[in-house]
């Protein structure tokens, strides 16, 4: 007694205080605002906060936020067959699908329209979990504020669709495992329908990696900044990439202020399509860079390889 408990408590507080500089001492002075978010993951001792907008923690592969539709890299077709399971399993019922019809009125396995009211989406991930065609997946994007309350949150098919290579980039392990399951099914089935198209696409991707715009490169001026979130291959982050991001940080900030918030989601929208020719030069350089930096990953699955090459 006589204040012993209080002194113990203060001692622990003091220890916490010094511990909070442990990481700084190890790295050297003046490094606090550099991007080193990865250091703080896992049970380390000491400094545990990150300076959020400047540095971001990398998210695990299973992280789920915002559903998106997958389109084939080569054919550009949706994998969605408008079967409606996602719309029926959705707890807040925020998915609307219009199934396309042939001229004679018979339904086709293609979505004519696909809307998600993301303002009421509860990020449960059921749509991705129960989709039998791997056509809808959960994204890793989480910083998507807008100032507009209504229409900005209703995502139509164009806004939702992203290429499969993007999915393979963000979810390498899951993507490969799912691809293996699909390949197995294909081998069993007779050729026909979407399966053969997919196989064609895979072979095309293997032989000639067509330089196509990745979603990151599409958002023209923000390319380096966007790639920071998009690129993050959780398996093995390369130091070159990190440095590059750090150097271009100032430019990114300036550019980000100029870009309207809606532009962040027009990765595959018409606006981005128009920008493509103009940005070919920058895409080419970006491709070269990513190839150089992604060298250790080259032995992975061909699909990942293709996505890297883009």
């Amino acid at each position: 007694m006589f204040g012993k408990g209080i002194i113990t408590g203060m001692g622990i507080t003091l220890k916490h205080f010094f511990d909070s500089y442990k990481a700084d001492r190890r790295r050297g002075l003046g490094t606090r605002y550099l991007p080193h978010g990865e250091e703080h993951q896992g049970p380390v001792k000491g400094f545990v906060t990150v300076q959020y907008p400047e540095e971001k923690l990398k998210v695990p592969e299973n992280f789920r936020f915002m559903p998106f539709l997958i389109k084939d890299d080569v054919t550009g077709e949706d994998w969605c067959t408008a079967c409606g399971i996602c719309a029926r399993v959705c707890p807040p019922q925020c998915i609307w699908i219009v199934r396309a019809k042939k001229d004679d009125g018979k339904p086709m396995p293609v979505p004519e329209g696909f809307w998600i009211d993301t303002s009421i989406c509860m990020q449960c991930g059921y749509c991705a979990e129960y989709c039998p065609f791997d056509a809808i997946k959960m994204d890793h994007i989480y910083d998507i504020p807008t100032q507009e309350r209504w229409d900005a949150w209703i995502f139509d098919k164009e806004k939702l669709t992203k290429p499969n290579s993007y999915y393979m980039q963000t979810h390498p392990r899951q993507g490969i495992a799912e691809k293996a399951v699909r390949d197995e099914k294909e081998a069993k089935k007779a050729k026909g329908g979407r399966a053969s198209k997919e196989a064609k696409a895979e072979s095309a991707a293997k032989t000639t990696p067509t330089p196509k715009a990745t979603p990151a490169a599409n958002a023209a001026p923000t390319a380096p900044g966007k790639s920071e979130t998009v690129k993050a291959n959780p398996a093995m982050p390369s130091t070159e990439q990190k440095q590059a991001t750090a150097e271009s940080r100032a430019d990114v900030k300036a550019a980000q202020t100029a870009v309207a918030p809606e532009a962040q989601f027009q990765n595959t929208g018409p606006a981005a399509e128009q920008k493509r020719p103009a940005d070919e030069q920058s895409i080419a350089t970006a491709t070269a860079e990513s190839r150089a930096s992604a060298d250790p990953n080259q032995k992975e699955d061909p699909a990942t390889k293709a996505s890297k090459a883009e």
């Binding site: 408990g5 009211d117 899951q174």
Partner: protein
């Protein structure tokens, strides 16, 4: 100064008595005393409502039955009748439940005698049933609305009641697919067309009623007496916007000087009628909604719901590995919740946020584990009927082992060291907010509040669910039942959780070498359409805040016919006024903190 010690006990052996689950034997005993008062329907005891109070008193006082604990009280709206359902337990013999029902066929104005005289804990629960279902409990001391406001029209849990933006009776809604014409509910049904008000009710002229079983101060009558100081009681509203209430919760405190004479909890600010939403939802859709109940322990909430529904799926078999994963996640949840609760408690005592942040620091690592296995930090939505959603990735296991072996025990010891003997904490917490064991049982409290009063009752031991019967752990109990005991019980429970986690992480089949398959989903892709057989089930888990129960009734369809939640925060708040009487205003804050409420669950 003596500090109360925490003793750990195992349950007492079963005595010679009628098991509560044997409804037929109990009905025979009841009928021997009261002619034709009870009969058995589908395993539950249906009591004639005219003799309900006598039968309930008999069930409580008869030593060979001894239903001393009313765990849950709810009601079901059937097409031809209202059923009020009671779940009764015996805490001494640690058995139950006995499901007792009483029926009223008068659909427009059902009336049932109140059981607050038998089990005082029925007070809040009966008010909730009256509010949401419209069953009047005759003889209730204060039968007013509790979650909704006084001008609310109708009773929303009745099957004929429709909400403002009503679309269809059941999900999935037809217009989503295959002709998805995208229309928001608000657009189809514009504002003001969706409101039904009672006849002759004008919201603009509405005067709030004086909620007076606590009289408000009458300033005009106050006379100044010369010579001697005369005091007068007055009412203070603490909340709903008050940092000590941990959310939007109001306490009407009647004070005499600084002393609390009486307290009345006022809640419902966060009410969203979770149960009505749940009855519109299909069975599986409720899983992510349960995350939002007690948003600090979403894994535990999922667990309870999965257990309740799995009781209605007799052919389902949970894989061994999934059972272990459920236990691991539930125990991690308990640790993070207690860190949070204790941090809040100390914050309420005046140690503003420093201890809270130490707790949050540990919580972050556990949330990292939740995120990498389920995909979200708080709204995990991890469990499925018959398993869990995903296998954790390989990097889960080294971190989990490190946390369990080193970091968490160290953090718990730290938390204990700088608080348990701290003079300020001792002065503030010891002897404050004492809840006697008999009061704790009578008021239907659950969880650490019940155990701190010296009742060694833990659902994990009394009614083992999942694979909890395989683990070696103790149940910490308090001796005095004050705020300090609740604090010590929580610390000791964290240690027990670490003990369980150590056994579970070693014992999990596949072990840490298990190569996880990311595409593996235990529920399977066909799992979105579940077949639930007709019947009713009450599944409960020992959540960090207490026994969390789900009462589900199925009519064999795709949606639950009735979906009720027994929320530990809700029943524990019923004991608040007993605890605070005679204490100072500043103590009200820490007594509320020691109950550890979460408003998402309290208001539902």
């Amino acid at each position: 100064m003596t500090t109360p010690t925490i003793t750990t006990v195992s349950p007492a052996p079963m005595l010679e008595a009628t098991p509560l689950r044997d409804a037929n034997a109990i009905a025979a005993k009841v009928n021997a005393k009261f002619a034709n008062a009870a009969n058995v329907v589908d395993g539950s005891l249906v009591v004639d409502k005219n003799q309900l109070v006598e039968v309930a008193t008999f069930l409580r006082d008869e030593p060979t039955i001894g239903c001393n604990f009313l765990e849950d009280l709810t009601s079901v709206d059937w097409p031809d009748r209202f059923e009020v359902v009671y779940h009764l337990y015996n805490l001494t013999r640690q058995e139950g439940p006995l499901r007792m029902k009483t029926v009223d066929t008068n659909k427009p104005d059902p009336r049932v005698p109140s059981l607050t005289s038998v089990w005082p804990g029925a007070n809040l629960m009966e008010r909730e049933v009256y509010d949401l279902m419209g069953v009047r409990f005759e003889g209730h001391p204060n039968l007013v609305r509790i979650l909704l406001w006084e001008g609310f029209y109708g009773h929303p849990l009745r099957k004929d009641w429709k909400e403002g933006y009503f679309e269809e009776e059941k999900k999935p809604y037809d217009q989503r697919w295959p002709q998805g014409d995208f229309v928001r509910g608000e657009e189809r049904n514009p504002y003001k067309d969706n409101m039904v008000l009672p006849k002759g009710f004008d919201p603009t002229k509405y005067q709030f009623p004086k909620e007076d079983n606590i009289p408000l101060i009458d300033y005009n009558a106050q006379a100044i007496h010369s010579g001697e100081l005369k005091s007068q009681t007055f009412v203070v509203n603490m909340g709903p916007q008050h940092p000590s209430t941990h959310g939007v919760f109001r306490m009407r405190v009647m004070l005499d000087g600084e002393q609390v004479v009486d307290l009345q909890p006022v809640m419902g600010y966060l009410h969203r009628n979770h149960e009505k939403i749940g009855e519109r939802n299909a069975w599986l859709m409720n899983m992510p909604f349960t995350d939002r109940l007690d948003y600090l322990c979403s894994m535990g909430n999922n667990f309870g719901y999965a257990l309740a529904v799995e009781k209605l799926m007799p052919d389902i078999k949970v894989p061994e590995r999934a059972e272990y994963l459920r236990v691991i996640m539930a125990e991690f949840t308990r640790i993070v919740n207690h860190f949070f609760a204790l941090g809040q408690l100390l914050s309420d005592m005046g140690a503003f946020f420093t201890p809270m942040l130490y707790g949050i620091e540990e919580r972050e690592w556990v949330l990292d584990l939740f995120e990498m296995s389920s995909g979200a930090r708080m709204m995990c939505n991890y469990l499925r009927f018959g398993g869990v959603a995903k296998d954790p990735p390989p990097e889960f296991w080294p971190i989990a082992r490190d946390l369990v072996a080193n970091r968490l025990p160290r953090a718990i010891d730290n938390f204990d060291a700088y608080i348990a003997q701290n003079e300020i904490v001792l002065a503030r917490a010891q002897g404050v907010g004492i809840l006697k064991p008999e009061d704790a049982i009578a008021l239907s409290t659950v969880g650490p509040v019940l155990r701190a009063s010296g009742i060694p009752y833990d659902v994990r031991r009394a009614e083992p669910y999942g694979i909890y019967d395989r683990f070696d752990f103790d149940i910490p109990i308090g001796t005095v039942g004050d705020v300090y005991d609740r604090y010590l019980v929580r610390i000791a429970e964290m240690r027990e959780s670490v003990r369980i986690l150590k056994q579970a992480i070693v014992g999990i089949p596949g072990g840490h070498e298990y190569q996880s398959d990311p595409a593996m989903i235990f529920g399977g892709r066909k799992g979105w359409q579940v077949k639930i057989q007709k019947g009713e089930a009450y599944g409960r888990v020992e959540n960090p805040k207490g026994a969390l129960g789900y009462y589900v009734v199925s009519d064999g369809g795709t949606n639950p016919y009735r979906y009720h939640i027994h929320a530990p925060s809700f029943v524990n708040i019923g004991a608040l006024s007993t605890m605070v009487r005679g204490h100072k205003v500043a103590d009200v804050v820490i007594i509320l903190g020691s109950i550890d409420i979460v408003l998402g669950e309290l208001d539902r």
